[in-house]
Point group: C2
Chain length 225, copies 2
């Protein structure tokens, strides 16, 4: 304790106040979950990881649940950045030149790829965002609930725009189509993340098949040429 270097010119002298604890807790939590699984994350280990005492994290998160909610919230923010949601994503605006200016099967396929990629490569976030652990608990942060609902609304809007853009007449209700197609994406993601579908080579084929099914559904009963 009685360090003979009195001031804080050396940042490594471990000051009493951490200064950036909340941020580092969130990062360390995601890291631990990614490397060792959600079950391996404990408040004590987390505290030790960032070099504070066991109870220090409780000054930034009321309990473990709140911390997990915060991690999930961050996941939703990344989610919306990576998975290009919204009607503008395909409608040829100047938002992103890499995205195709017309709606075709490849656009759908790219969207599915993005979704699956995010889920698999950010499994530690995805699991929290859409897993039952937080949602069943009835202790969701209000902000987390808002984030989630906003994401789903964006998806419904995107589907609605897809339908208006692609089909002559809407075969199925947009909301229902959104719910079912999201279920497909979510199901594939879960089966991959949870290690039930293991063959990674099959992922591309599954994505292609899903894209074809989505697309044919969007085109209604028209020929698939």
């Amino acid at each position: 304790m009685t360090n003979f270097i009195p001031d804080n010119t050396l940042s490594s002298s471990k000051p009493y106040h951490h200064g950036d604890l909340r941020r580092q807790l969130l990062d360390a939590a995601a890291s631990i979950i990614r490397d060792e699984g959600e079950a391996a994350l404990s408040m004590r280990k987390l505290a030790q990881e960032v070099g504070v005492s066991r109870t220090a994290p409780y000054h930034h998160f009321s309990d473990k649940q709140a911390l997990l909610c915060a991690v999930a919230e961050e996941g939703f923010r990344r989610f919306r950045v990576q998975v290009s949601f919204g009607p503008q994503a395909y409608s040829g605006g100047e938002t992103n030149a890499a995205l195709s200016p017309v709606l075709d099967e490849e656009t759908i396929r790219n969207f599915i790829r993005n979704y699956i990629d995010f889920a698999v490569n950010n499994a530690e976030y995805y699991r929290l965002m859409f897993g039952g652990h937080l949602w069943k608990s009835q202790q969701l942060t209000a902000s987390l609930k808002d984030e989630a609902h906003a994401s789903f609304k964006l998806y419904v809007d995107q589907v609605r725009a897809w339908q208006q853009f692609a089909a002559k007449e809407t075969a199925v209700d947009a909301l229902r189509y959104a719910q079912v197609s999201w279920s497909t994406l979510h199901g594939m993601s879960c089966l991959l993340i949870d290690g039930i579908y293991l063959d990674s080579a099959a992922v591309a084929a599954m994505t292609d098949t899903a894209a074809r099914m989505f697309w044919q559904q969007l085109r209604g009963s028209e020929s698939s040429g």
Copy 2:
């Protein structure tokens, strides 16, 4: 200990050997998970529930993981009974008169309904059967792995038969179609079980939509009449 009633003429005198412990442990475990969630299941509480000491269950299951695997196995057995798998389910054999003898959209819808019903009404089993908790652990019982693979194989066979029965020419590969459609069923089940999709009135509409999508996919590019 020195009971003055020496013999076991009274069945309520709690004999040293339980006699039916394994079965009661499995039942109590499923019951606890159903009522209080998987997180609330502890070996100690489980032992207390059935009236034995904390370590008694370890003589029937090597550890908690093995117990959960056994519960999941039981789930697969129930699964295959309730969700009528296999080609014979629709092809008009004498197996079940209630099932329609021809393949149409309603057959698909009934199958989807069965699947979702099982998942929602046996959530405690479904979560274990298809959740990442067991599958990611790399400690799956061999018998559980067999049960799971057998179930998926049955589903693929069913899809293959559907395709042969319904479509003029196979639009997509049966295995891919099975993987994607199962993903849809699994995704819907997860979203319902985990409390993300709450509106139970929407379930019927989602089921209808999914059935229509599956069916149109089976019929290929033919008119949906």
